[in-house]
Amino acid sequence: MRDLTIDNVSMRFDLPNGTSVQALKNVSIDLKAGELLSVLGPSGCGKTTLLNIVAGFLAPTEGQVRLGDTPVTGPGPERGMVFQQGALFEWMSVRDNVAFGPRMKGRRERDWARDVDHLLDVVGLRDFKEKAIYELSGGMQQRVALARCLANEPDVILMDEPLGALDALTREKMQGLVLKLWNETGRTIILITHSVEEALLLGERLIVMAPRPGRIHREYRLPFAERGVSADLRSVKKSEGYAETREEILSMIWDMEEEIMGRVEAGAG
């Protein structure tokens, strides 16, 4: 398992009207192997851009992302990705979706069958493995997406609002599942989210980003993910420090949003 280094990454691109956008400016993050990082920020702060750079879908204009000593130049199986929704393959069964990574590597079924079936057990989809994707509920689909990512045994798992489209109850169950998988597999995880609660519960480290240009505003080290591994998430929410931190971050983001609105209004006036 390798460390992930985001080294002074900046991203700037031209618009058709001649101006340019500074989506990210001098973002540096060092992630030790097995760390769980959640990234929070108002819309337009470059969270998703940052994740796409780490995944290798976008190239930064400055700086570099390294996994161990290897620079990231494109997408690769060592950096798995879980999307919000719509990324599963409807033309394959649940099991074939989960086995996609091993199959693309040309491994035979007898080599991956046990791992894949085990993962389906872990995410609680053992009885659904021959079902079609469109027969599953939204929460089940995200469990397939998690299992599919894990089946590929990536060093880093990148999650782009994986639970954003789920209802509150399902979301809470899935948060528990993410923590469980993180604890059991020991993988490095970067989670992008809109939800402050989710960021607190699923972040050993939490980064709050600020917009225009997208940059790191504040970084926290939090105890709640550790607590959540052994306790139920609702009791974690009542535990010491949770409410205060939540308030602090909420008002921080609130201020940022206010500032953006103010700037927009000033620009309009």
Binding site: A55, G74, G80, A87, L88, F89, G101, M104, A132
Partner: protein, 419 residues
């Protein structure tokens, strides 16, 4: 006009009977039946199958009723068939007048007829006989047996004065005086259609069996239809073979998109029918020309379908595949191609429909075999029953192709519309 009014009346009557009567007795209790807002809720509108049945039956009943079909108990009044008379008044040059009778026998066209036998009667104007086919008319040379040195003039029909160019109603028909003064008898036509305009359903069915057994224009019915189908399938096959890879290339490469965009966008709105003359000039009227035409008809549709199938892929799927370690070829094989299949099937259904229409049109222009050729040749010989039979078969086959494509679609791309 009358037929339209009857049709509307049946529509309204069936609606009232079914809605007020039968449906009240057999109320459904599914979810939709509990909806109170149905006007504007498209999902609550389901085709009333009883209405469909009545609709089809109505068409056949009207068809039968207005063609004197034996399969339908009620008929519109038919043409007058049988014997009738009218009298004419002839005037000689010296001013003397005399009446005589024309004994008319109206018969079905194509049947043998024996003229009526009558006495010549008194006076200088003698009685005449006339045989005329239903829906036809005929001149009565009334003066050919009259005792006169020069032409006599007809001045009245059934006692009503008449001059050349005028028309008089008589029993079971009407008489027009021609410009030269000869009465022209037209029997009543009734409301039914003459078989050369619209044959009865049983005549069409009879012709179907006759042609299925004996063939028409040197080929059996199955051969005619089979050749048409063969051309469609061959043209569609080649169109898909070239069009689908071309569409993929246009969806995956800037250069291909740029190169072929003007060609595809230009050719797409050109109706395949407009290409028939050019294809005939280049490739003649044989099979090659027709298959080239159908190839061109299918090509652009399939290209555009494949291109939109590629551009319709959710970027997350492609990203997910790459970050699961798939290569470009694997992304194409396992993500882009399956993802585009629903679009390709939609395109294939459209292309098959267009090809079927185009092949019939091409055969109308020039062919030795084929459904279109069959009805075109039949129309030249006024064989309306073959024309109607051909149209019905063409419709049935077109509908059948579409149903087959839909079944194949449900079987091969069950994930369509559920992404």
């Amino acid at each position: 006009m009358l037929i339209l009014l009857i049709y509307v009346a049946i529509f309204v009557a069936a609606f009232l009977v079914v809605r007020m009567g039968i449906r009240r007795l057999t109320e459904r209790h599914d979810f939709t039946s509990l909806k109170t807002v149905t006007f504007g809720d498209e999902s609550a509108v389901r085709a009333d199958r009883l209405a469909s049945v009545i609709s089809v039956v109505t068409i056949f009943v009207l068809w039968g009723a207005f063609t004197g079909s034996k399969l339908v108990p009620v008929h519109a009044p038919g043409p007058f068939i049988g014997d009738t008379e009218f009298s004419y008044t002839a005037e000689r040059a010296d001013g003397e007048r005399d009446d005589a009778t024309v004994a008319v026998r109206v018969h079905r066209v194509g049947e043998d007829v024996i003229p009526r036998e009558i006495a010549l009667g008194e006076g200088f104007a003698k009685n005449d006989v006339l045989t005329v086919g239903a829906w036809r008319s005929d001149l009565v040379r009334v003066d050919r047996n009259d005792e006169a040195d020069e032409r006599v003039k007809v001045v009245a029909i059934d006692g009503q004065p008449i001059a050349p160019g005028q028309k008089v109603k008589v029993a079971n028909g009407s008489v027009t005086l021609s410009e030269r003064g000869t009465p022209n008898f037209t029997p009543d036509k009734g409301w039914q259609m003459e078989p050369i305009w619209l044959p009865s359903p049983e005549a069409v069915v009879g012709r179907l069996f006759e042609i299925a057994g004996h063939g028409y224009q040197n080929s059996t019915l199955l051969q005619h239809l089979g050749w048409s189908m063969f051309r469609v399938i061959a043209g569609f096959f080649f169109g898909a073979m070239i069009g689908i890879p071309l569409g993929y290339a246009m969806g995956l490469s800037d250069w291909f998109r740029g190169w072929f965009d003007p060609i595809v966008e230009f050719m797409r709105p050109v109706p395949p029918l407009a290409l028939i003359p050019l294809v005939i000039i280049w490739a003649g009227i044989g099979e090659v020309g027709k298959i080239i035409l159908l190839f061109l008809a299918a090509l652009w549709i399939m290209t555009i379908a494949a291109r939109s199938g590629v551009s319709g892929v959710n970027l997350s799927k492609v990203h997910a595949a790459y970050s699961l370690g798939a290569s470009k070829w694997q992304v194409l094989r396992h993500v882009i191609i399956p993802n585009s299949l629903p679009d390709i099937f939609t395109g294939a259904r459209v292309a098959m429909g267009v090809c079927w229409g185009t092949v019939v049109a091409a055969e109308l222009v020039a062919a030795e075999k084929g459904a279109g050729m069959m009805i075109m040749v039949a129309s030249k010989f006024q064989l309306t029953d073959i024309v109607i039979m051909g149209i019905i078969l063409i419709g049935v086959i077109g509908y059948g192709i579409d149903i087959l494509m839909r079944v194949a679609e449900r079987w091969l791309v069950p994930w369509k519309g559920r992404g």
